[in-house]
């Protein structure tokens, strides 16, 4: 029993190593060879699982409590997107369990919303299996924090999570990736996202992979608040356009896709209605806030030089990995994708998606109203809501 289940896992372990080599190699013949190995590994996994289940099936059928289809595990529930996913899941009536790593400031707001919070850490794989008991679907919104290596959480932790999901019969796995991650292998996070996509597709799980371009929520702290406080706004001179999307819309479309059978085993890209450059966003914030912004422009060349400098030392390698996105800024022109096919597939009206003008207009209206109610000056440095 235990030996057979342990036998299945090493073969599952073998596939990420092949994926890494496959990502590194560019020749055409070797991927085919590795693909054959992957198929053999897959068949071995299935056979082993079959033998294991035959022994267990009569017992589990007689005594087992069925797993409810409304139970969901959200990994990374405290993030910008994760909290919106949790909120949307609770509003739609799901039983939400949040995987939160232990930390000094616990995520009490998730518990107050009505979700169940379990402590686990993706960098410690032995803590993952217990959180998946009684779960029907997993929504993976997790990513590493800026102060820790990308590889530990985003690759090794994700591989362990996918292996656990496969072994424990999770019916659906939702993974959030980055748009065009297959075209930027030099950026570590994008390469990891692409390899994870491949690993999910090869694992045999029922999956939904959603590639995202950017969130509107990040623009609030980056541009809107400094403009209101008359502080310096930092922007780049890159011509890259990003089609920002509201995280609430992303969460809404995610659950529509989960209930849609046509979206099963699909790779979708979510993008906002229009793509914006940094300067255009700042101009829009200036117009809505009613005052000029003190813009400080950082050339992309400076970012690139800083990245080269930080790559020389071991303790700043993580910073260099984060600064690798300067390559994306300088190379890619438009970070957007046509959404008509996705809307038709999900049965969603494109006009229901929130645009950036509406989002920022609502934000500035609410903020200026609150400032007026508090009789506060716009130059106030500490705003607590």
């Amino acid at each position: 029993m235990a030996s057979t289940s342990l036998a299945t896992l090493p073969s599952q372990l073998a596939s990420p190593v092949r994926l890494r080599r496959r990502a590194a190699l560019s020749s055409a013949s070797r991927p085919h060879f590795l693909l054959h190995r992957a198929t053999k590994g897959g068949s071995q996994c299935r056979l082993a699982v079959t033998c294991n289940a035959q022994a267990v099936a009569p017992t589990s059928f007689a005594q087992g409590t069925p797993v409810r289809p409304t139970s969901i595990l959200v990994v990374g529930a405290t993030g910008t997107l994760g909290r919106q996913v949790v909120r949307r899941a609770l509003d739609e009536g799901y039983d939400v369990r949040c995987l939160v790593r232990p930390r000094p400031a616990p995520a009490d707001f998730l518990r107050d919303w009505g979700a169940t919070v379990v402590n686990a850490d993706l960098s410690k794989p032995e803590t993952i299996p217990a959180t998946l008991v009684g779960i029907h679907a997993v929504i993976d919104c997790a990513t590493g924090r800026p102060e820790e290596p990308i590889r530990t959480v985003d690759w090794e932790g994700k591989v362990a999570l996918i292996q656990c999901a496969k072994a424990m019969g999770i019916q659906k796995y939702v993974f959030y990736s980055i748009h065009n991650c297959d075209k930027h292998p030099e950026v570590p996070l994008m390469e990891i996202k692409y390899c994870t996509e491949k690993f999910i597709q090869d694992s045999g799980l029922d999956y939904i992979i959603i590639r995202l371009c950017g969130f509107m929520q990040g623009l609030i702290g980056q541009y809107a608040v400094p403009i209101l406080e008359e502080k310096s706004v930092w922007g780049t001179d890159a011509p890259t356009r990003i089609a920002y999307m509201d995280t609430q819309d992303v969460a809404r479309l995610t659950f529509i896709a989960m209930r849609n059978e046509k979206a099963n085993k699909k790779l979708m890209t979510f993008a906002g209605p229009r793509a914006w450059t940094t300067q255009e966003v700042i101009t829009l914030c200036e117009r809505l806030a009613g005052q000029d912004a003190n813009v400080t422009t950082v050339p992309v060349a400076v970012l690139r030089f800083t990245r080269q400098l930080t790559r020389c030392f071991q303790w700043t390698n993580d910073v260099a990995d984060r600064l690798a996105f300067s390559e994306v800024l300088s190379s890619d022109t438009v970070f957007s994708a046509p959404m008509n096919e996705t809307y038709q597939l999900l049965g969603v009206d494109g006009n229901d998606i929130l645009s950036l003008e509406k989002y920022l207009q609502d934000y500035f209206t609410n903020i200026l109203k609150k400032l007026k109610d508090l009789k506060a000056q716009s130059k106030q440095t500490d705003i607590f809501f």
Binding site: S5, L6, L9, S43, Q44, L47, T50, N52, A53, V56, A57, T59, S60, F61, Q63, G64, T65, P66, V67, R68, P69, T70, T80, R83, Q84, R87, D91, E92, G93, Y94, D95, F109, D112, W113, G114, P125, E126, I128, P129, L132, V133, G134, I135, Q163, C164, A167, M168, G169, Q171, Q217, I220, G221, V225, T247, R259, E261, D362, Y363, I367, F384
Partner: protein, 189 residues
């Protein structure tokens, strides 16, 4: 060799499908009923959700005003659960039947007890894997760990030597003479 055993197992499952479908259909109905039975348990939990949602930290507070507007209105939260209720049962029977028809292990995986057993096995597997990774390689040799330790000790030695020279004025040769004299190996004074 590996392909041969997989083919007959698929055939056996196909044969089982022709016999069993009505029973599994009944089971799927039972599953639906149990899920509906658990529905009212969740409903009383919904009203306390709306008053207590707290204020998140600064940045999410700026982004969550629209979500805060949802809880106070009783009509809006009531509508989504009613719409979500018919949606979950409709995909239920199809994936259940599909998984049951395809393989017994997947159907077995739908139970909590099976998931608990697999979870325990996975925990032991990851712990053993971590131990194996820690025990990899011999103690001596040109290993990455040994090379790192050796390099650090070398840096430490250089630092101590230079700091000693800076503090006492004795250069490397004089320091070696002092060491040999203090250890009583050679009398150089």
């Amino acid at each position: 060799m590996s392909l041969a055993p997989s083919i007959p197992s698929i055939k056996v499952k196909v044969g089982a499908v022709s016999v069993a479908p009505p029973h599994r259909a009944c089971r799927s109905f039972a599953v639906i009923r149990s899920s509906k039975a658990e529905g009212p348990i969740r409903r009383p939990a919904a009203p306390p959700l709306s008053p207590p949602p707290p204020m998140p930290p600064k940045t999410p507070a700026l982004s969550t005003p629209p979500t805060l507007s949802q809880p106070p209105t009783p009509v809006k939260p009531a509508a989504p659960p009613t719409s979500s209720q018919p949606m979950p049962p409709s995909p239920e029977p199809k994936p259940v039947d599909a998984t049951a028809q395809m393989r017994k292990p997947v159907a077995g995986a739908m139970t909590l007890e099976y998931q608990r057993k697999v979870a325990k096995d996975l925990q032991e597997y990851f712990k053993k894997k971590k131990l194996e990774e820690a025990d990899q390689g011999p103690f001596f040799g040109f290993l990455p760990k040994n090379e790192i330790s050796n390099g650090r000790w070398a840096m430490f030695g250089f630092a101590v030597g230079m700091l000693t020279e800076y503090a006492t004025g004795s250069d490397f040769v004089q320091q070696m003479k002092i060491l040999l004299s203090n250890f009583g190996i050679v009398d150089l004074d």
